[in-house]
Symmetry: C2
Subunit: 346 residues, 2 copies
């Protein structure tokens, strides 16, 4: 049987081995009884069941699934309110990739919706109930309690985006992410290469590693930039509009902005148009994501850093299925490349 | 214990009563053993377990949940591909209402995504696994196999939209719907009241009862309309555009259209603008749904028939929770009213 996930100590609990020893049967027989008793002689069934009672053994459904994939189902958890999940195409594309790949593995996608952070206790209960074989979790925030719950219930997991629990060793948990920092550097270098002098950055929320890594990429290229040019956003259209308005107050001479996602860039574009700033002549813009429905629909269309969101969803499923099928080999993470897509905004 | 759903015969299977009789214990004791054995003396536990083995009794998890709500989770199944779920605001609003109300009941929303009709077998397996206490299903099509699967596994269910299995008595299954036929009549009467003579209808897909009922409302008011004025659509923006283009070919003198949903109406508007037809001067349009993000965003904004989609989602949850809590009283369905919302398009 594969071991528990390697990144946390686990409380002692009666093992199946202990049950087998007490019942005086082999581990395989004990396992068969715990899993329904088919093909085991009645006296042995009774002995094992007695040992189970006496030891207070609780079958670890989550660990069992590592071997059996018995539920044929994988949970997807997105740590965002439902309103954002349905309004940000990033999530629908991620889910599209996951859905197609799970389909190819004949596994049911079980999307667990949360309204707010208080709902994690309920989600944890569902995971603890052994209803799914594994979990794909994304859009985590650094103060999330979800990773701890997933560890506690020993449910195999692959994260979308590098989990950012402060102090946690990131090499202990498997994740799929894009090269956020490298992509950000390419965006800023592109703007600098156009001769822009006052290059700003509208950042994502600082409790997400994707936002932090993109900020790092910006400061890698412009270590001496005026701190007033770095302004916080929240990955929404409205947040991008607010940040752009404040940026124009702070630094009316801004001539380029690297915006941490396409949705915020579309909000920033609207504000620039309202204020009579021409894009790209007065202010050049580069986004991040390359969401077709956003980046190609804006006026002008967005130059942006493309990440393959559908492909990353498929990859998350493949990593999880490998863990389920080969019994939880060591965690493996994948960083996918990004690339600059040139359109009219820069 | 509540009875099975009343609308289908069920195969004979060993009952808990049979187990209790064979073990020589009361039904309550047999139930306690099957549910974990807490507080039952060991000899009785052994007797019951022996009877379970001998009879091949399988605990009916789905039926048990009627009493216990033990999973704390409710499945939502939408019979549409994931791409439509995330692009049509009808679904996100429906889910919004469901999510809020489930939250108020401390129940986890479990969204089961399907890619195509072939996936229902997999969804059925998940339902049969007893992982959820009940099901909310919507956007069914008349040839769906889902209702049969739900009946087979005896999972309590409330439908969104009247299920339309041909020949099935609709009073046997609880559903929440809006007054599709009455709303359609109001839309067409409004256009007739504006003095329009050639009033067309772009219909939804004919395998959904909402589309069929809206067609009925149209023909209620205009029983002698030229059949060429009734044209099929598919509830998508592109489908509405295609239908409008064909309608202009068939009847260039069309001066009003009742469109079966707002998304199709936005596609129809685009085609009318491209062909130089003014709305509402040349062609008046009325939609259906009153999706804010669509009806208020079009140019001109849409006159439409409002249905309270968020409220209908909440109502579905309340009906289901009543069934779970009072043990499955007879099915109750609710038809919610619609109303005309006047904007510039008619």
């Amino acid at each position: 049987m594969p071991g528990p996930s390697p990144d946390a100590p686990l409380p002692a609990r009666p093992t199946l081995e202990a049950v087998a020893a007490r019942a005086g049967v082999s581990r395989a027989t004990a396992s068969r009884v715990v899993n329904g008793g088919a093909g085991v002689r009645q006296p042995l069934v009774d002995q094992v069941r007695k040992a189970v009672e006496e030891l207070g053994y609780v079958p670890n459904h989550a660990a069992r699934t590592l071997v059996t994939r018995r539920n044929g189902a994988v949970a997807v958890i997105i740590d965002e309110p439902e309103a954002r999940i349905f309004s940000d195409p990033f999530f629908s594309q991620h889910i599209r990739g996951i859905s197609r790949e799970l389909n190819a593995h004949d596994a049911q996608l079980v999307l667990l919706l949360v309204e707010g952070r208080g709902d994690f206790e309920r989600v944890s209960r569902y995971l603890g109930g052994g209803h799914v074989d594994g979990v794909l979790a994304f859009s985590l925030h650094t103060d999330d309690e979800l990773p701890a719950a997933i560890r506690r219930f020993r449910v195999p997991v692959v994260y979308g985006g590098r989990p950012g629990r402060p102090g946690a060793p990131t090499d202990a948990v498997p994740f799929v992410d894009c090269d956020n920092r490298g992509g950000a550097r390419e965006a800023v270098r592109h703007l600098a290469g156009l001769g822009r002098r006052n290059i700003a950055h509208i950042a994502g929320p600082r409790d997400q590693t994707s936002a932090l890594d993109r900020i790092d990429g910006y400061t890698d290229v412009l270590p001496d930039a005026d701190p007033a040019l770095l302004i916080d956003g929240d990955f929404t259209v409205e947040g991008g509009a607010r940040a752009m308005a404040e940026l124009l107050e702070r630094r009316p001479d801004v001539d380029a902005v690297f915006v941490a996602n396409d949705l915020m860039a579309s909000g920033a574009l609207r504000v620039l148009r309202e204020r009579g700033r021409r894009v790209p002549q007065d202010v050049a813009l580069v986004g991040f994501d390359d969401m077709e429905s956003v980046a190609e629909a804006t006026d002008p269309p967005l130059t942006t850093i493309r990440q393959d969101v559908v492909g990353m969803g498929r990859l998350m499923v493949r990593l999880l299925m490998e863990r389920l099928e080969d019994g939880g080999a060591g965690p493996e993470s994948v960083i996918t490349p990004t690339r600059l897509v040139r359109r009219a905004s820069a």
